[in-house]
């Protein structure tokens, strides 16, 4: 069951202190970005359990974006450094286990980088569109 016109669905976990505010800034600055992203606000990129990324990928998302503060800028000092290692862990496991790890992105976007947020969403939407629908979300036997 493939969509006739494929519109990627992207789940974004954004840190409250930076990327979420950056996304807000993109909105208030009236920057255009694709409506394909569903935003979930978290207190820190360091609070993203890999399960939060995997669950949507198995239940209907085509991509997952994690947005956090630039290294050195985490409100909790080290959350984003730990997030970076968990991201390497997750990507390595997805790749090793035969899944499309390129559906998961991590980007550092500060509160003042509204434009970078809009560009990232646009870029990711196009990259996922090029990949096509996430096979996991349509395969009834997995999930």
């Amino acid at each position: 069951m493939t969509d006739p016109i494929f519109e990627p669905r992207i789940v974004a976990y954004l840190c409250n202190w930076c990327t979420y505010t950056g996304a807000d800034l993109a909105g208030t600055s009236r920057l255009q970005y694709p409506p394909n992203v569903r935003i979930i606000r978290l207190m820190c990129s360091g609070s993203v359990d890999p399960m939060y990324v995997l669950q949507p990928l198995l239940h209907g998302a085509d991509g997952v974006l994690i947005g956090g503060c630039h290294p050195g800028d985490c409100h909790y000092q080290e959350g984003n450094y730990k997030a970076r290692r968990r991201y390497i862990n997750l990507k390595t496991i997805l790749e090793s286990a035969g899944f499309e790890d390129e559906r998961v992105w991590l980007r550092w976007i500060s509160a003042s980088e509204g434009a970078r947020f809009a560009e990232t969403v646009a870029e990711m939407t196009e990259a996922i569109r090029a990949l096509g629908p996430n096979p996991l979300k349509v395969a009834w036997e997995v999930g």
Binding site: P50, L54, L58, N89, I93, S96, A97, W108, W140, G143
Partner: protein
């Protein structure tokens, strides 16, 4: 460390090792012994032994590993007050114990580890059916062969670390030795005066025997990894491998690294409202139930693969006979390589997911 010999009499190697453990228990600084023990029924279990009489049934060589003893040792050491325990551990148990110490679920405080070369273990049902001979052929040369008609557990066949590593205070060095003559043991100076011990030396053929066994196991491991990776990357991949999974979570329950008392997958967060199931079934055409089987395995990989010690308890526990351990070891090897981390080697080396450096993977997140 001093090389000693545990003399072997008429009664054989099991009795010799039991006598050695009894002698260890007589020491003032040891309260109890944790060791595999043969029960009246013939089954073998780990036990925490306080009574020297029961130690006569200790059987560290019994070729079976019903559970990974590290998880049990964690219960005995996780908090004060602790007894001073001498623990007989196979290499994969010791590696798991090191990981559990780093995960703050266990402690080396008061523990004397008696590491033992592992010659390979059989699946519990095979062992129970036939009480297979403890000492296989080829101990002296390292060309170890399982008993005729039996196979060692898959995990054992591909275990390239059959010799106790860092963390073992005493090492029972079977490989290379003529066990009829005695069991070579490497002990710290303070144990050298144990009355049962004779002067000894490293078995002349030990280095060659270890090398030979490690080479054979490594070759087997690499062939297994290649096969598993091929399966993961072809066709339905991991979904197909776990197609017959019944989501019993036995694999998680027996994994020594999975220490959470209640796994998140046993909670209620995966009980969705009825309409949710219907919506998914509508979109996908059908919904596999129970749901979230693959999510369970992928999440477990994310939580523990970096520490997977390859003990294969998960494979043995799977009622659907799925190659759980092969997948976890192969994927684990890739993550371990990414972090340049080898589980079970050293308590001083931090766990990859609890540490970080500011200056690493600097390109990540910046595109």
């Amino acid at each position: 460390m001093t090389k000693k010999l545990i003399p072997v009499q008429e009664a054989g190697v099991q009795a010799a090792l039991a006598a050695f453990l009894q002698a260890v228990l007589t020491r003032d600084d040891i309260d109890m012994i944790f060791t595999p023990v043969r029960m009246r029924s013939g089954a073998v279990t780990h036990a925490l032994v306080a009574d020297p009489g029961i130690l006569a049934q200790a059987d560290p060589l019994a070729p079976v590993l019903p559970v990974n003893g590290a998880a049990q040792m964690a219960r005995l050491t996780v908090r004060e007050p602790r007894k001073r325990i001498a623990a007989v551990l196979r290499p994969c148990e010791l590696r798991a114990f090191v990981e559990l110490v780093k995960l703050k679920q266990a402690s080396f405080e008061g523990v004397t580890v008696i590491g033992i070369d592992c010659l390979g273990t059989y699946p519990v049902p095979d062992f129970m059916a036939d009480h297979i001979e403890a000492i296989p052929q080829g101990v002296e040369t390292g060309a170890i062969k399982p008993a005729t008609g039996y196979r060692f557990r898959d995990a054992c066949q591909m275990c390239e670390q059959p010799v106790p590593g860092a963390g073992a205070d005493i090492k029972i060095e079977l490989l290379g030795a003529d066990l009829r003559a005695g069991v070579p043991v490497d002990v710290p100076e303070v144990f050298a005066d144990l009355p049962v011990l004779r002067d000894g030396a490293e078995a002349p053929g030990r280095a060659a025997a270890v090398e030979r066994l490690v080479a054979a196991r490594t070759a087997r491991r690499d062939a297994d990894f290649a096969e598993t990776r091929e399966q993961l990357r072809s066709g339905g991949g991991m979904g197909d491998i776990f197609a017959a999974c019944i989501h019993c979570m036995n694999c998680q329950q027996v994994c020594p690294i999975c220490y959470c008392k209640v796994c998140v997958f046993r909670g209620q967060i995966f009980d969705y409202p009825p309409e949710k199931y219907a919506a998914w079934a509508g979109r996908k055409g059908a919904l596999r139930m129970p749901t979230d089987t693959l999510l369970f395995h992928l999440t477990r990989l994310n939580h523990m693969a970096v520490s997977c010690v390859g003990c294969g308890m998960c494979t043995e526990a799977c009622p659907s006979a799925l190659p759980v351990g092969q997948v976890f070891r192969a994927v684990g090897a890739d993550v371990q390589a990414a972090f340049e981390y080898l589980p079970g080697q050293s308590v001083d080396e931090p766990l990859p997911l609890v540490t970080f450096k500011e200056n690493e993977w600097n390109e990540v997140g910046e595109e």
